[in-house]
Symmetry: D2
Subunit: 348 residues, 4 copies
């Protein structure tokens, strides 16, 4: 930590900071500049937080200089991690593979879900996504089938062999969702729902943690840290667009977040181009951008009949676009040194 | 709703939209422009949502033209509402009064809380805020005293007569918080936690709903609609700053949100300048801005000893600033036609 | 400046930084932390910039800790400044007064401009704003009357005695605008047009510098520094809203910018609620917020006939709202210790 | 255009809108909804703009439904365009090729520029970028060599055969820059400098138009329209990052802007990953993302000795990274159906 004193700070002000730091066992190195004095702190950062140095007279600013997350940091865990999803048949998400996840935004009926899963599988997807509990901005919108949706998903897994990724929106539902699903998704609106993060951290299943649409990368990694602290390091991060001033897309896909996360954290990171763009015509180009930038996978919406979808129909792929995406998934990752996740599936 | 066709849409494309709308009992008025055709829909909007018109061939865009919220809208409830807080002694928040809410960010000890409450009361505050459950970005930060904190707050209410506003961060805690508190606060990180919104909607106590730091005003009103739909219309909105590119303040106080909300919704709206700015020196000017713009109240952090605060010490007021704020609260609202809430307290 | 080394930096890396700093006559104080080393630099900051320390091996980050602006900083000029506008009759903008500036967005005809000026003056305005050169997003929109508009403004000044504020959008027009106007406005789109800033810095007239709609406060003060460096310290800053994700208003008025600027710079700062909101119904509440927060003035659009305005008609005040604003200007600033600028007009 | 009436609009209010529209020769189609009436306007949009319909009583909102740009729109020019840069040897930027542009951020000396050009060329670049006039936020920073820099660039073109792209920051410099350069760059800070846009529109050279860091895509296309209206359709758009709340990168590269622009405009669009990220380690992954998404090229910073660079040293590539980028440029575009621009160079 670095404490920056204001230009009119006195010797006494500086001494007061030093005394506080030393009182908790820290070391304080004072550098007197021409217009300002700065103080470098050495010691246990947690203990410094309680000092409230920012409230002391003459203190202009306090800069933290090391990352606030630990378990998810690459600093003490330099190898990038692989997360395995599924029991029995396990699909990897990690640095050597490219994992294609697809499925309907919402589970509506057994037929629609199975058909979407088969479309996804035919296009090369190895994991099935589908929503049974839906967080919706409007209390008047379709909220999902709940447990019945989970049962449909389990049936489709039976039929296709694809492990299931599904969202949980309430800490009280974690147990039931974990009984049915292979991977628990925490959605963008719940990234800072700390009770939910702790609950999924204890559920014993891998977690797909979407970035809050207005969260910084650091806040996102801190949310992963919440999960990790409960003993669960099987967390996959998912960039899904951030809120900006640009109206042409629903959100702005922050493609740079992928290499930034990979430089800082050992956790895998994938991209959701469907929710970022909110427009079907951008899903294929953005998926290719994700492959180019080095993402560990993509997750996209597909629906056998987007016109009748109860949720996010306009962004679901079908026909031509899905074939185009399947082709990109086959051809691009190999050029960049990755194999398709299907080639590394293992029996658990 | 208005459907805008793309320039290359055919007669058949237009006819397909019309047919879909008429199939659910709606009326579709077609206007053929020089380059584009638009179709105005008349009928039940909810039924139109399920049509997924955006997915039809030739449709460029679909504009919603009426507000999506109903119970909180001013359209069918033109009088602005007053919410009464407290049992026995009831404090109003509404269009004729200015309500000054103050207290410590976090309840730490009985002594600190009582002292902060007395400071607040001496400065003119009529409601006490104080956090027992704290949502924190870092799993390593102080998370609040929980139920013990609620008991401290109840004791301080006993001692001072000030009704209590406190945050609830998890749907599973709503019952216990509602037993102790007079008003339940939903914080900025939980504005889109729909399970929590529904739970506080059923708790039988007034709710203080903070704006998500990255929520649009419309999304914020939709969150209030979630609460209202469970039968609770005693919701007070609180603007607390939004996330922007400007680093000089923690968030950017969106002061315009106050008159925008007042034009659209009948619910009261107050301002939290402490969390918006994150800087003590801005709390007084921003509180005066809130009075000037016509807010129904302010909620500010006070702490008897900010240097030892476990949470947000740098923004807590004391001494000089608190006196300056007290003076503004006494002098500005009357010029703008409001009386202090203390003058309208009623026995319940 | 503070140099933060990365966790894996070696002794040699640290030594290389120290050597570079000492080579230009600086002093480098090294603090070795548990996980990171930081180096505090003492000496001439300008010389450090050329060192490109960020490119050296083992350097994680470089923090600047003092403000980059000098002439406009309050550090060496603690008294807040007053800028006087007009020849002969001079109107102040500064810390003791509240200055109400009003007029039409665009000068359309002599009659419309005179009528708007008289409306403004009757409502208490002491300076007249009006655009002769208009920067427009669309090349197909009305671009202003140019020199003819300047002549109309000069005539209206003759008739009303109000000094004139008008925008200049091109460095090549600065001379002719400075011949006619009393204060040169640099608009939001030109805040980073450095050639224009330098030209107005040499024009010998006070400057009204609007904040770029996406500029940080620091960048805005650096733009003022460009003007000041050419010898012109008569700069008034104008907050006019920043671009955010909120669609309810055209831009988000950053009301906190007023006290932030006043804490950092000695220059006066006013608020433009008309362009920030883009909605007539918000102009009066936002003007009152500006008074509450301590702004040195406001600048608003008025038009005798908004329905026929060639520019920004929807935000122009008339009738009721203008009377309401006039009343607020009379009543609020005195409560906060300011007098109306009209009471301090001096003969130059 | 669509006019949305407010819920309390009267029959007379609707009739007034209709009358205004018809008075300028337009047609107004009225659709009466359950809660609101909407009016679809048919006719010349330019004439409707002058009606100020938004100021009429009972009007809640006015939606524009067609794009405001014409010459750069793909609507009447469905084929995507190719822009040729250079006299004699001409390099294409367009839909069939991938064009790699590289060079130093600032021209410092003849030696440094030649060395950077040779590095760029060896890595596969076909166009040389280099700044002679630099727009800098601080008046105390290096502002470029000016005309001397242009002469250095011309000499390096002579030596290498690479056509030159260089920035012009002031309308008064356009003539001299156009005499030396093959392509004129308008930088992010000048995207809304309308005088400059008009001047480059008349200069007879292709233009590289960077997106304003806070401009919407529509505003960016309108800036291109300004240039096109002066008779110059040889405009290449360049996405270079937008300002958001995320601090990990200097700006957020809006990779979605590439396919959005390609769907709307016929102009080529390239990506600048160096200025977007401001971090050397992200330049290669972001360049690969640009290839994946379908950009028509990239423009990157290279410098023979970043440690001594006078401008943006931390983002300049060298050694390893440059080789990695060269490899990606060779391998990725062919997989996506593009050839390297060098294979389509023509003699003019």
């Amino acid at each position: 930590m670095v404490v920056v004193m204001s230009p009119d700070a006195t010797e006494e002000d500086v001494a007061a900071v030093v005394a506080r730091v030393e009182a908790v066992g820290g070391e304080a190195n004072v550098s007197k500049g021409l217009t300002r004095t700065i103080i470098g702190l050495v010691g246990d950062i947690e203990s410094f937080h309680h000092l409230n140095l920012r409230t002391l007279r003459g203190v202009a600013d306090v800069h933290r200089i090391s990352d606030p997350y630990k378990l998810v940091s690459r600093q003490h865990h330099p190898e990038r991690s692989t997360v395995w999803v599924g029991t029995g048949r396990q699909v990897p998400i990690g640095p050597e593979t490219f994992t294609f996840i697809a499925g309907p935004c919402a589970v509506e009926t057994a037929g629609q879900t199975l058909e979407a899963a088969q479309m996804a599988q035919a296009a090369g997807a190895t994991l099935l996504r589908g929503g049974a509990f839906k967080p919706r901005t409007s209390p008047y919108a379709f909220q999902g089938l709940g447990v019945q949706g989970l049962e449909i998903l389990a049936g489709v897994r039976e039929a296709t062999g694809m492990p299931i990724v599904t969202e949980v929106v309430d800490a009280r539902d974690v147990t039931v969702v974990a009984e049915h699903a292979d991977m628990l998704q925490v959605g963008t609106r719940n990234m800072a729902n700390f009770g939910l993060l702790q609950a999924v951290g204890e559920a014993g299943k891998p977690v797909l943690l979407k970035r809050g649409m207005t969260a910084t990368i650091e806040e996102w990694l801190m949310a992963a840290e919440y999960i990790a602290r409960r003993g669960n390091l099987d967390v996959v991060l998912c960039e899904r667009g951030i809120r900006t001033f640009e109206p042409a897309t629903r959100n702005t896909l922050d493609i740079s977040a992928v290499p930034v996360v990979q430089a800082t954290s050992h956790l895998p990171v994938i991209v959701d181009p469907s929710h970022a763009a909110g427009r079907k015509d951008l899903v294929v180009p953005l998926s290719r951008a994700a492959m180019g930038v080095g993402a560990d996978g993509v997750i996209v919406d597909v629906h056998p009949d987007p016109e009748s979808a109860l949720c996010d129909g306009p962004q679901a792929l079908l026909g031509t676009e899905l074939r185009e995406l399947a082709s990109a998934v086959r051809r691009l990752p190999p050029v960049l040194g990755r194999v398709d996740a299907s080639e590394r599936v293992r029996e658990g």
